[in-house]
Symmetry: C3
Subunit: 141 residues, 3 copies
């Protein structure tokens, strides 16, 4: 039984859905030694999110940003406005999308489908660095 737990710092991203699969994998070389296990990613923020979606067509993340900004619009009549008009919609999107992912590991790699990638969903206009606690547990090969 192997346990790895590490905080990964993601560099500031522009608002929108940003593919970070490579950044996550690069920070977790121990993945290669797991025969069967799981990776848990936990974003320690409430105005951004993690999500898995289509990793190929660059139009998809643009459409996702448009769609989620339509579902949680800045024009709503919010009470919590002290941090700007993009803040409360960011909290709504954080709960819609969730702050964590759990992904199976098999034979040293993530069991993502061919079209699946890991997105950091940055909901703030200026989000800054984001921290992800990564936990790996499983059987070593």
């Amino acid at each position: 039984m192997t346990w790895v737990q590490r905080t990964i710092e993601l560099s500031p991203q522009p608002r929108g859905f940003q593919l970070v699969t490579r950044d996550i994998l690069a920070a977790l070389p121990e993945l290669g030694k797991i025969r069967a296990g799981l990776l848990h990613l936990f974003l320690q923020h409430t105005s951004a999110a993690l999500s898995i979606n289509e990793n190929a067509d660059p139009d998809v993340p643009l459409d996702l940003e448009t769609a989620f900004s339509a579902i949680a619009p800045e024009t709503s009549d919010y009470r919590h406005t002290c941090e700007g008009p993009d803040d409360m919609p960011a909290h709504v999107k954080a709960s819609l999308l969730g702050c964590s992912l759990t992904i199976p590991i098999r034979d040293g790699g993530l069991c993502l489908g061919v079209w699946q990638g890991i997105y950091l969903c940055e909901h703030r206009n200026r989000g800054g660095r984001r921290h992800v606690v990564a936990t790996i547990w499983g059987e070593s090969s």
Copy 2:
């Protein structure tokens, strides 16, 4: 400590919320030997999802389909339209609902509430077979 990891193939389903609790359980006989543990289900697709919801009234999945198609409508002005008008809304719903579930196991069975069932949420008009990576880990009885 027991580890089981297996890919389950779900047969093609019509668009909508489809109860698959029995299919999942039938594919995982090892569940019966776990005293305390967890089941993780991971759908390897980006135009379908997994969700837990009410398992009794057949009107509930029909209403869920209607509700999610209203939240992510086909009438939106998407860029990613090459795979048809149901494709980009399917990606939005995939992120809204998520592609994985984690369910506790106790004394050889899933700790689902009385009214909880596992749904495959098929967002495409013709979705085809769907693959779920199931991982069980826990203490054997």
Copy 3:
């Protein structure tokens, strides 16, 4: 390797987003002994949800309740109406938000970000007691 699995009963809450971080922690004293591990929380209901969001400004949960009730409005033309107008929107919100959370544990405490708290999202006007199956697994210190 330590395993703890316990059902936590949350007292009836008014409709809305209710912070329960303290209730959860108080019910899980074994957390303090885990060096590296995970906590999984599983709500055994389909008309409420669990979510992580901003824990400081009391306006945020009020805005979240307003926002989610706008995304899944009671005015929609649902088939499943036998339990009242708040019931089917509650099921929609349950799938939007999800019934479980997985949170990393490090050095005896949850790795929540500074602004993150655990919310019980009560979607029914009169929801009653809610049951959460908590599972802890990890390496003891």
